[in-house]
Every structure is written in C-alpha cells, then in structure tokens.
C-alpha cells in the first residue's frame, strides 16, 4: 500500500493568487508518506507500529481507519473496525461527562440505545462515578483520557487502532489498560498499536513493524524491532556538517564501542566502554584539549571525559586529522545519555574552539537501580560489635 500526499509547492489558496498565477499553481511537491508498505496481521494479534516522528505511522493508521484514501494498493479488514485513532475525539469541554460519553460512543459506532446501556460500565471502568455530571472542562487531562479509553474499549470492535494512548494516565490506570488489552486479546480481538514506547512494544506486542520514511524497514519480533529502532534513532552517526567560514577545528563522527571494537548503542553498566571522536584541525593548535560530556535525560552533565587528565597529545598542524578515544569503566546509572564532544585550546587560559551539542547518544542499562546518577564501585565491610 502506498500513500502520496500532494504538497503544493506554494499554497495558492485564494482565488486572487490563482487568477494571478494560473499556470504555476499546478506545481506541487510530492511527499511520499508511505511507500509500498505491506503487511498482514492475524486475528487476535497485538501488532506494534513504531517509527520516528514523520515516519508515516499515523498516516498508515489513518489510511487503515478510512480517514485518508490510498493512492495504490489495497487493504482488507475482516470484521468491524473501531474508527478511532485517538482517545476522546469530539469531547466537548462544555458538556458533562455523561453527554460526552454518549456522543463519543455514537461517534465510535454504537447506536444511541447501546450507548445508554453501556454507560454505567463505561463510567465504572473509568472510575469516575462521582464526576458524571461535571462538565468536562473541569476534568484533569488524565481523567478525560481515562474516560476516552473507557468508551473506546466498550465499543465492540474486532480490530482496534490505537495511537499513542499509554503515554497518559497515572500508573494504576495504565496497569488497568494493559489488563484490558490482555483481556481483549484473549477474546480474539486484533489490536494495532502505534507508539514510541519500546517498553510497551516489548511487553505487549506479538510482532512489530518499524517504519522509516514511509517504508517498512522491518517486521519482526518486538525485541528485534525495538533494538533496530534504538540503533537507527540513537546510534546513528551524525551527519557531518560542512565547514563554516572561520572555523578552526572540525569534529566529525563520535561513537561508543566496546573493547573488541563493536559499536555500542546500548552499554551495560560495569563494562568497559570507549568513546571516540574524529577531529580535523583547520589551523595549527599547540595545546589541544579534547572533551566529551555525558548528559543524562534530565540534562545534567554527569561526567566529562577530558584530555586534561592525561599527558598532552602534542601539537597539531593545519590539516591534521586524529581519532581521540577515552576508555572508561562504565559506572553511569541507567539512563539515556547524550554526548557533546568539544575541542579547546590551552594557552595560559582555556578557550573553546569547537563544540557539537548532543550529537550522539548512549543508552546505559543496569541491573541495579540505586537512585543515584552514577553507581561507583564500592567495597563494603561490616564490623559486628
């Protein structure tokens, strides 16, 4: 199945412009949102669709849901399809939860009578009995999502299309959602599920598909797909920018590897890890200083590897290239780190020559969660008195 959007080269959306440019308005760019994506999902399967922003996930779901038409190819869906791809569509903040539930249920394909009959179950599942007659504008966002989810699961669809729903709701409710998914799967419902959350993919999906620029890169087990997703998105070597005028040093690729030289996307705590960067000098530098800063998810610099701690690397002439590596025992806590390499010069005082913010990343996995930002090796002694 393919989907191409015609993106007008420039939007001529008024008649005046169209009259002034009668010919040029025919031009448009084509954005291929989906290219020859083909897959089959069996009955009762929990199928994950992952990909970066703009990779075509939502377009695919909208085509499946019948919101967008397709340009080529065909789709076949056996059974009733839930026509929603987002929770709480059409919720009106000015109406009470009661009205909104009925409206939403009708939108999703129930008749008015069915909607009324299931109303109590819906409210009960959402645990919002006390707030039934409250206007939705007074609901917290989590509460309205709960309501939306409750309606959605009450619609007897054989095939559910779900777009990024698990990102909201508190922990207890998320658990309930997962239970509900498990129950629906046990009933033989088929669920197509779009997310960025690899943990959810690995936990629930039978199979998953990775979309990249509108193409299905891989349809495989959730473990392998999420591994590939991480490699593509976090481990990708940054594209080298062209030299700017007046630039003194260029920093090329930066990557992490294990002692045997294999590229690392995910490093295990306690292992030796080596971070390397390519450097090219565009003018002579006598006392270079190389650093790589590791920032965690909350953007604290947890650790900076620096050449100051080591014997001088010596002077470099213009045009010299080098690969600078730091090896370290990985004591970083489990997190997703971004790497910022920098090159400076020390001539009595330090000044920065080149720095590239957050150009690479490293995921650290650990069996221990101590709560600290690092897990330094410790020795323990207990002296009983």
């Amino acid at each position: 199945m393919s989907k191409t959007f015609r993106l007008p080269h420039q939007r001529y959306s008024t008649l005046k412009e169209r009259a002034l440019h009668p010919l040029s308005s025919r031009k448009h760019d084509e954005l291929v949102a989906l290219r020859d994506v083909s897959f089959h999902v069996g009955t009762g399967e929990f199928f994950g669709i992952v990909g970066r922003n703009g990779s075509g996930k939502s377009t695919l779901l909208k085509c499946l849901a019948g919101i967008y038409g397709t340009d080529s190819g065909s789709m076949r869906i056996d059974g009733r399809l839930s026509p929603f791809i987002e929770l709480g569509v059409g919720f009106n903040p000015e109406l009470t939860a009661r009205d909104n539930v009925i409206i939403n249920a009708i939108m999703l394909g129930l008749s008015r009578r069915e909607a009324r009959r299931r109303f109590d179950e819906i409210i009960e599942f959402a645990e919002l009995q006390e707030f039934v007659d409250l206007k939705l504008k007074n609901y917290s966002s989590g509460m309205s999502v709960r309501l939306g989810f409750s309606v959605a699961v009450q619609v007897d669809a054989d095939v559910l299309l779900v777009d990024e729903v698990l990102a909201v709701g508190d922990g207890a409710f998320q658990l309930k959602c997962f239970d509900q998914f498990a129950r629906m799967r046990a009933q033989g419902r088929t669920i197509l599920f779009v997310t960025h959350d690899m943990a959810a993919i690995e936990r629930f999906c039978d199979r998953a598909m990775l979309l990249e620029r509108g193409e299905a890169v891989s349809i495989d087990t959730p473990e392998r797909v999420s591994q590939l997703y991480r490699e593509i998105n976090f481990g990708r070597a940054a594209v080298e920018p062209a030299a700017r005028p007046g630039q003194e040093v260029r920093i090329g690729r930066i990557w992490c590897e294990d002692p045997s030289g294999d590229r690392l996307v995910t490093a295990t705590q306690g292992d030796t890890c080596r971070v390397s960067m390519e450097v090219e000098f565009l003018r002579p530098v006598r006392f270079p200083v190389f650093t790589v800063a590791f920032r965690n998810e909350v953007r604290h610099t947890v650790f900076t590897a620096t050449s100051v701690a080591h014997p001088s690397a010596g002077a470099f002439a213009a045009g010299d290239r080098a690969i600078v590596s730091f090896a370290f025992e990985n004591a970083l806590a489990q997190s997703h780190y971004t790497l910022t390499p920098a090159v400076g010069e020390y001539e009595g005082e330090y000044h920065l020559l080149e720095q590239r913010e957050d150009v690479a990343s490293l995921i650290v996995e650990a069996s221990l969660h101590s709560g600290g930002v690092v897990d330094l090796p410790t020795r323990m002694e207990v002296e009983r008195g």
């Binding site: 869906i77 791809i85 999703l108």
Partner: protein, 279 residues
C-alpha cells in the same frame, strides 16, 4: 470470500457512507449537541437565537413604516416582515455556518471515520430547529393580528422543504469549496447581503418593476417568500406564479433549487475522500 464488500468499504472516506442509520444518528447527534450548547450555554440561551431576527425585525419595521413609509400600503406588513426575516435567517445561518463547518470540525474529520456529509447536514438541521422555534413566534404574530387559520397553511410545509433543500445545497457546495479556497467565505458574505436586499424581505414581490419580474422571481427565495405570504398571511396577495407571470416561470426557480442541490451533492461527494488531507 465473503469479506469482499468489506474490502471495498475501506477504500477511503466518503460523503454518505454505507450505513444510513449511522449517518442519520451522527447528523442528529451533532445537531442536537450544537443546539443544546446554544440553548443552555448562556444564561438567556434561546432568547439570543430569537433576539437577532426580532431585533432586525424591530429596526426594519420602524424604518419602513415610520421613516420610509413603505410598509403602510401592505396588509399585515409586520407579520410578513417577521416571517420573511425568520426564513431568510434560516437560509443565511445554514449557508454561513455551513461554509466554515468542515474546517471547524477539523479535529473530528482527521481523527474519526464517518460520512463527511454529516457535518454540513448537521448545521442545516440545527438551523432547522431554530427555524421551527422561530416559526412558533411568527404564528403567534399571525394569530395576534387576527388572521384566521386556513387549510392553505399546509402549503408552508413543502415550501419550507424547498427552502431547506436550497440552503443545504448551497451549504454542501460551499463547505467543500471552502476547504481549498478560503475566499469562498467573504464572497458568500457579500452574496448573502445581495440576496437579502434582492429578495422580497423588507418589501413584497409585487414591488418589482414589471421589466425584471421574471428574473427576480427566478430567485428561489423570492418565490418561496411570496408564496408563503399568499398561503399563510394574506390570501388576497398575489401567488408566486402571479408575480412571476405564469407557473412556467416558477419552474425556473425550482430548477435553480434542484440544480444547486445536485451540484452541491456532486461536488461534495467528489471532494469527500480528500477533505481530511486538504484541511
């Protein structure tokens, strides 16, 4: 395999869809919800819906009986003025809100599969609710000014059906065009103004000079208002056919309604599959 029709069904979004009950349920629900919000949304609710035509009526009545002295020669001028304003308000409301309806419901159109025609039709239905309520006020006026109920009042029903078909046809056409051409809205605002003065709202159809009678009565609004005047308000007033110069001339205005409705349906059905993308 038995799933073949299902496969065809998922080719893309359509104007009406294949489930008429769902189509109607959705249209009804959206219209009722809108109506409820309007009705209960503000303290005075319905009063505001009625206030606009009544206020317009008050102003025009004072101007055209006290200042211009045009209404004086017309029997039951205030009743006719109110009835025509109420009917024109229905037409103006359906078309003006219809134009922007698809764009305003963008969040639904891009998130849920449902027949696209539901949106402009629910706007028309909502306006029809208002028309019904406002018509009650018109009839209070009618009875208060001493007009006796007659069998010809029943003519009102087909006349309002034609009016609704005309308004809905325009709304379908314009709403589909507005998605791609945003200047449809200002153009229609001007058109609506022209129609207000071009149709016998503040005057009656017999005021048209003889030279343009045929053309003026080709306007469906003029024909409908004139016939309502004859059937409901004043049996001695000329029928639409009298003013138009023969029943044959009325076919023109009926044809305009039919053609508008047909073009509206056709354009809407053609645009429906792409509406969600073009928004």
């Amino acid at each position: 395999m038995s799933a073949q029709p299902a496969a065809a069904r998922y080719r893309g979004p359509s104007a009406v869809g294949d489930d008429l009950r769902r189509f109607w349920a959705l249209t009804w629900m959206l219209a009722v919800t809108d109506f409820k919000l309007r009705f209960f949304g503000s303290a005075l609710g319905y009063v505001w819906t009625l206030m606009r035509p009544l206020l317009l009526f008050g102003v025009l009545y004072v101007v055209f009986t006290e200042v211009v002295r045009l209404g004086g020669d017309i029997d039951h001028y205030p009743v006719y003025l109110l009835a025509s304003i109420v009917m024109f308000t229905f037409f103006a409301e359906t078309t003006a809100r219809g134009v922007t309806s698809l764009v305003e419901r963008e969040n639904l159109l891009r998130k849920v599969r449902f027949p696209r025609l539901v949106i402009p039709l629910s706007v028309a239905l909502h306006a029809l609710f208002n028309l019904g309520l406002n018509m009650l006020v018109v009839f209070i006026f009618v009875l208060a000014s001493g007009i006796e109920p007659r069998a010809s009042w029943l003519e009102l029903i087909p006349l309002l059906v034609v009016l609704a078909a005309f308004a809905t046809g325009v709304a379908m056409l314009l709403s589909a065009l507005y998605v791609r051409y945003r200047d449809v809205q200002p153009i229609w605002e001007v058109m609506s103004q022209i129609l207000f003065y071009g149709s016998p709202v503040i005057y009656v159809a017999s005021f048209y000079p003889d030279s343009i009678e045929h053309e003026a009565m080709a306007n469906p609004l003029a024909a409908i208002f004139t016939q309502v005047r004859h059937a409901v308000i004043d049996p001695s007033a000329p029928t639409a056919a009298d003013v138009a110069g023969g029943a044959l001339w009325l076919v023109v205005s009926l044809a305009i309604v039919a053609v508008t409705f047909a073009i509206g349906t056709w354009v809407f059905a053609r645009e429906a599959p792409r509406i969600a993308e073009d928004l």
